[in-house]
Symmetry: C2
Subunit: 455 residues, 2 copies
């Protein structure tokens, strides 16, 4: 029976004890983060109003491994190790000689990988005596994760939810509230910034940029009572996700396989980093030759069509300047259905790896993603969130290429979350109401023209 | 670390190879099923238009164990063995000396235990050369499961969905359709019966009874092209669910525990049977003294306030007469939020066990259930479906009793599904819009007065 095993489980004792910090292995250090006003490098003290010291230290650490606190591992046990599965039925459907493995992070209480970092962020804030965390959420995955994590540690959780999502996704709001989070539709009258947005446009349905501004304001003006939490992009956030790839390495050993290709979708970069970075390390330090592919939406092609320059992290230009692949901070992506991938920029770590040629990037259009998602769910039984459907579309391309070339190949991808709260998107797809979005170069050029010229 | 383990996993080789058929161990045989017209015992040939022979044979089998086909076990591997978890954080919250374990069936592709029987039902129909299956769905769990199972075996799946659910739960409809099921709102103009219902009331929002009638008609008049599938109540359906309890026995051995109390919610009886029957067997055959408690909604108190008499399985009186605990086939439960528990009757097996004093029964009101569900989800991170929240409420009662009595006690319950598609119910609860439903005895008496007097 062993040749038909589809799931490779690990005991709870195999939950990683350390996060992997790729900063220790990068061929050159990450470019400095700059103050948005002075354009001078930002120091730890600049970040202190928003983050506790432990997380700031992780953000700039050059240590290769950072120990995971026992209290965090205790919580991880509620869902980790997550399963590694072999998609035998999908392989058969495609008629490919490739072996397809996927790490499934949708088994977490929040339904995605986001909880891997929400828990340590809540923990370090709790240890620092903080009373609660503020954050923003668009699609809702991050707000859900932070609300759960805060609940576990007895912290308040204040979530600014983009108003259009708040209105269109009442069940996302309800799950955040069920876990104890306080949800406010943004823009709101609870902050200075929110009131300003509303004065400009009382009918505003909000944006992630506005919600960030509100959440940051509440933390920054709370006199230390609240801090702010971010669900992707930052170095420490990506590092927390490396439990995914570390477990996958152990599980693939059980499967007696090693990947020729590792695939993940990228928005801010955190789920991709989670699966990919431990394999990047093996390439860098141990001479492995695994291809590592970041897949982004054709409608928000940050790596494949953006430039590697300094740009603001937020739309309003209040956040620090980061050197990253960007489409321009004022770029507004179309309302396609992978809300988690609609960010104009890219994590510094991912940008640097791509610039160094250590990872590949590709973009796929929305309809191909949903088509692939249907093939996957009808074979494997799991409804993928729209975000990882981008990884799935790429996996299918690679598997069909292997078939054409008659080549045996091991593919690993990260199924970073389920789509139980995204059925409206599937419904639209099944009814033929979805279309692809592709940006004319002029739209990208216009946003890029507004990016400050630095370095 | 071993004393803090919260999850007890089994390898895929431990998926049960046999279903357990409690008919072999009952102190007396189950009462005969009677023809609704003649009141004479129904034979296998009476069921042939609706079910394939293999399932009819399982329905009446007296064999203790029935082998699970390898093709079914291959599919079970997509999610089985399901996890057994210890609710350490809930124990701590309650301050109870009790150990609380739960089997989590929500990891299945359909999100509930229903797939355990949908897969073998689809398999046996495929083997019999059937082209497709018809069924009804109310809350949507069963329609989802059958749609997935039919897809795995290349069968058509025709789902009659109660019209009010079809309209109020578009995402349930969408997930069934994503898996390839064809969904029709019932009553519909696609059947004789449906057209009759519509002629009587063009605005009818449907009922489970109407949807059953439509699904049965399509199968019965298809000349053998389609058969019909039921998601609970029948002996073979309950038997298929015994994989749950068999796995739990192995997992509890790993946890070095044996339950003093086993708890499951009951509607038709299938998830309860799944967890409980292997423990009933240990009581009957090996002298164990485990208390086994079936928990039902106070708003549909079939066991605790119904009578053990012959009654129709459906509202229209077209289905066979079964001796069961019933509130009367014309009893209409209030629109409370555990759609899967709104059945007027109870599986024959469960009714007989209760009548013999081999299991206990209790009822809990809706608000207590949602309150318990919130305590559970904030401790354990999993959002329970409204149905198993009844089991959770009972677990909390037992755990608090153990605390009062200073008594160590091992409790096991079946968390038969997640509530990702039930957030509207949580939302209503959080907003204080839910209330309890309790039936005046006259309402039950009125329905019982219409039950035929047999035996």
């Amino acid at each position: 029976m062993s040749d038909t095993i589809v799931r490779f489980d690990l005991p709870q004792s195999a939950i990683p004890t350390r996060w992997y910090n790729i900063q220790a292995d990068l061929p050159r250090p990450l470019p400095a983060v700059l103050h948005p006003g002075t354009h001078q490098p930002v120091g730890p003290s600049d970040l202190a109003p928003l983050f506790p010291e432990a997380l700031i230290m992780q953000e700039v650490s050059q240590e290769r491994f950072i120990e995971i606190p026992e209290e965090v591992r205790e919580i991880y046990k509620l869902w980790r190790p997550t399963p590694l599965l072999r998609a035998r039925r999908l392989e058969k459907l495609l008629g490919t000689p490739a072996e397809i493995y996927y790490k499934y992070e949708g088994v977490s209480p929040s339904g995605s990988h986001k909880l891997n970092t929400a828990v340590p962020q809540a923990y370090y804030n709790k240890m620092a005596g903080i009373q609660g965390l503020t954050t923003e959420t668009g699609a809702g995955q991050w707000g859900t994760a932070l609300s759960i994590a805060c609940g576990f540690f007895g912290l308040e959780c204040i979530v600014y939810m983009v108003k259009v999502s708040y209105q269109q996704k009442p069940y996302r709001r309800a799950i955040i509230q069920s876990f104890g989070g306080k949800v406010t539709a943004s823009p709101s009258d609870t902050t200075e910034t929110g009131r300003r947005f509303l004065a400009e446009d009382p009918e505003s349905t909000g944006s992630l940029g506005m919600a960030i501004s509100e959440a940051v304001e509440v933390a920054a003006t709370s006199g230390g009572k609240y801090k702010y939490a971010l669900g992707s992009v930052l170095n420490h956030v990506l590092m927390h996700q490396t439990v995914i790839g570390q477990e996958a390495l152990l599980q693939l050993r059980r499967a007696e396989a090693y990947p020729d290709v590792v695939i993940g979708c990228v928005g801010g970069g955190s789920n991709f980093a989670g699966i990919a970075l431990p394999f990047v390390r093996n390439n860098l330090a141990h001479g492995y030759k695994t291809r590592i592919i970041a897949v982004e939406p054709a409608a928000c092609p940050t790596l494949t069509r953006g430039k590697y320059v300094y740009d603001y992290g937020d739309t309003a230009g209040m956040a620090p300047l980061v050197k990253m692949h960007t489409l321009g901070a004022t770029f507004v992506p179309a309302p396609f259905h992978a809300g988690g991938l609609r960010y104009h920029g890219m994590a510094s770590v991912i940008s640097e790896l791509y610039d160094q040629g250590l990872i590949e990037a590709a973009s796929v259009p929305q309809l191909e993603c949903f088509g692939g998602a249907l093939q996957f769910l009808r074979s494997e039984g799991i409804v993928p969130a729209p975000e990882p459907s981008h990884a799935i579309a790429m996996v299918i391309r690679e598997a069909l290429k292997a078939k054409e070339e008659g080549q045996k190949k091991v593919i690993l991808f990260n199924l970073c979350g389920h789509g139980h709260f995204d059925m409206a998107a599937y419904d639209a797809f099944l009814q033929g109401k979805l279309s692809d979005y592709e940006y004319p170069q002029e739209a990208i050029d216009a946003a890029m023209a507004k990016v400050p010229q630095i370095g």
